[in-house]
Symmetry: C2
Subunit: 308 residues, 2 copies
C-alpha cells in the first residue's frame, strides 16, 4: 500500500498509472504535479488525482513514492528539483523511454537518495497524450522494464515492482544499456521509418492523393508518425548512439533489398520476405493488439491535433 | 445483374468479391476456378461459389463476367489461357496490384477481346489469404481503382464499375502509370520497409527478445511483413521501376534524418517529425481502420502459416 503517491507529469502514462493504481486499491492519496493548470484540473475532475501542485519539490516532501512521468527532455530538471526535497524513505521511479541517460541524470541529481531511485520503462502507450487520453487498462498484459543499478536499494526495487504489478503489467529487469539497444531496434527505429515515409509522401506533388489511396497496411505503418514530435526528438537524442547504430544496419539491409530489386532477382527478394514473414508470425504472439477501451481504438481523426 | 460470374482465383480477394456480390443479389451463378481442390471445395462448402472448375478456358465460355483474381505472377498465363475462349460479350477484369504490367499482358493475350478487358485494383486486403479468410465486407468503403485504356469498351467499363459498386466500394479511374506510382509509394514501399525491419531484427543475436518487447507501434508496423512473400515478390518485380524510384527517394530522406541525429540537431529532427505528424493527422481520415468482422480483426497467431 502506498499512502501518498506523487505523479510528476499527469499525461497518458502518468494518468493511466494513477487510474490503474486507484482501481487496484494499492494507493491512498494521489498528488499530481505539472505545469498546465488546465491538464491538472482535468485530472482532478476525472478523478485521476486527488489534488495537484505546481511545485515538484513541495509535492514530494513526505511522499512514499514519486513517479517521474514527464518527457525525457524534462526529466533531468525534475530530478534536480526534487533531489534535495526527498525523504530518506521516499522511493522514486520514472517511465522514460531511454534508460542510460536517465540513470546518469538521476545519479547526478539525487546524490545520497540515488539508491532509492529505480529506473523504469513501461512498454505501453498510444499515439495520443494528455490526461484525457489516459485509461486504467493501458498497462494490462504489457511489460515494464526496470533497470536497477548496483547502488539501487532492494526495498526500492520491491516497491516499484509491486507498483507495476498492481496495474496488471509484468515486470522484467535488465541492464540499462541493453534496454536502450532493444528499444532502439523495436521502437525508436520504427518511429524514424514511419516519420520518414510520411514526410516523403507529404513532399510529393500528388500528396493528398497518396494518402487518399493508402490502404490498411499504410495506415498501420504511419499511425506511429502521429506520435508527439517533441517527445520523440528527445527520445532519439537521448539514445543517439544506439539509434544511429540501428539506422546504419537498417540502411545497409534496405540497400541490399533495393539492389536485388534493381537486378530483378526474384529469388533473393523472396528469401528476405519469407524469412521476415516466418519470424514475424512466430514471434509476435501477443493476443492483445489493442487492449484499450473502444474510444481509444479509433484513429485520431481531428485536424491539426498537434497539441496532443 | 450478372447471370454467370467466373472468378479465377478464389482467395481472399476473389472469395470476398463473390461473397459481397452474392449478398447484394447482383449475381446469378458464381463459378470458381483454381488449382487447389481443397480451397475450391472449401469455397463451395462456405457458399462462396456455386461450383468450380479447374480448366479456366472451359469455365469462361458463355460467362457474362470474368474476374481474374490470381497473383500477379500468374495472371499473364491465365489471360493467355482464357483469351481464345472468351465470347465477344464477356467482360473481363482483374484485381492485380500493379496495372501497367497487366495491361501489357492483357493486350498481348486477349487480341480482339482486349477492348472487353477493364484493368482494376481494389485497395483492400488483409495479410491473410485463401478463401477461408474472405468476407463480404472487405471492400465496403474502400476504393477500387480502374485504369481503362483508349481501346476499352464503355459497356465493359460500366459493367465493372457496377460490379464494384455492388460490393460497397467506391470506384475511381486513373491512368495505369499513375496508379503504379501511387501504389509504389503507399503500398509497395511500406511493405519493403516492414520486411526489411523484421528481417534485420530476426538476424540480431537477441532476436526473440526484440520481438518480446515490441510494443503496439512495432506490431502495427510489422503486421504487413506477414503478407504472402511470393505475391509480394511478384508485385515488386511487376512494378520495379516505380518501386526503385521510391526506394531511392526514401533512402535519401532517411539519410538526411540520420545525419541530423548524428549531428545532434534537435531542431532539424523535430521539423521532420512535426511535418509528418501534421500531414498524417490531416490526411488519414478514413473512419474505418478495421471494418472487418471480429474474427478478422486479430493478428495471425498460428505458427508457420506460410501456406496462406
Amino acid at each position: 500500500m502506498i499512502d501518498r503517491l506523487v505523479i510528476i507529469g499527469v499525461g497518458l502514462i502518468g494518468g493511466s498509472l494513477a487510474r490503474a493504481l486507484r482501481r487496484s486499491g494499492a494507493v491512498g492519496e494521489i498528488v499530481g504535479v505539472g505545469r498546465s493548470a488546465a491538464n491538472l484540473e482535468a485530472a482532478v475532475e476525472l478523478g485521476v488525482v486527488d489534488r495537484f501542485e505546481f511545485d515538484a519539490a513541495e509535492a514530494v516532501r513526505g511522499a512514499d513514492m514519486v513517479v517521474v512521468a514527464v518527457t525525457l527532455g524534462a526529466s533531468a530538471a525534475i530530478l534536480e528539483t526534487i533531489g534535495p526535497a526527498l525523504d530518506e524513505n521516499t522511493f522514486v521511479t520514472d517511465v522514460g523511454s531511454t534508460k542510460l541517460s536517465v540513470v546518469a541524470s538521476a545519479r547526478a541529481a539525487l546524490g545520497a537518495r540515488f539508491p532509492n531511485f529505480v529506473p523504469g520503462h513501461p512498454i505501453a502507450g498510444t499515439e495520443r497524450s494528455g490526461v484525457k487520453a489516459s485509461f486504467a487498462e493501458l498497462f494490462e498484459d504489457h511489460k515494464v522494464i526496470l533497470t536497477p543499478v548496483s547502488e539501487t536499494r532492494e526495498e526500492a526495487l520491491h516497491a516499484v515492482v509491486s507498483l507495476w504489478r498492481a496495474t496488471g503489467a509484468s515486470v522484467v529487469e535488465m541492464e540499462a544499456a541493453h534496454h536502450d539497444q532493444v528499444l532502439a531496434a523495436t521502437s525508436h527505429l520504427p518511429h524514424l521509418l514511419a516519420y520518414t515515409l510520411v514526410d516523403m509522401l507529404a513532399a510529393a506533388k500528388d500528396s493528398s492523393e497518396m494518402f487518399e489511396f493508402a490502404a490498411g497496411g499504410f495506415r498501420d505503418f504511419t499511425r506511429i508518425a502521429s506520435s508527439n514530435p517533441e517527445m520523440w526528438r528527445d527520445i532519439i537524442l537521448a539514445n543517439r548512439e544506439a539509434v544511429l547504430q540501428m539506422c546504419e544496419m537498417y540502411a545497409d539491409r534496405f540497400e541490399t533489398l533495393r539492389r536485388a530489386i534493381e537486378a530483378g532477382d526474384g529469388a533473393a527478394i523472396e528469401v528476405i520476405f519469407e524469412r521476415a514473414k516466418l519470424v514475424r508470425d512466430r514471434s509476435v504472439v501477443s493476443p492483445h493488439p489493442s487492449k484499450r477501451p473502444a474510444e481509444h481504438a479509433v484513429l485520431p481523426l481531428k485536424r491539426g491535433d498537434g497539441d496532443q
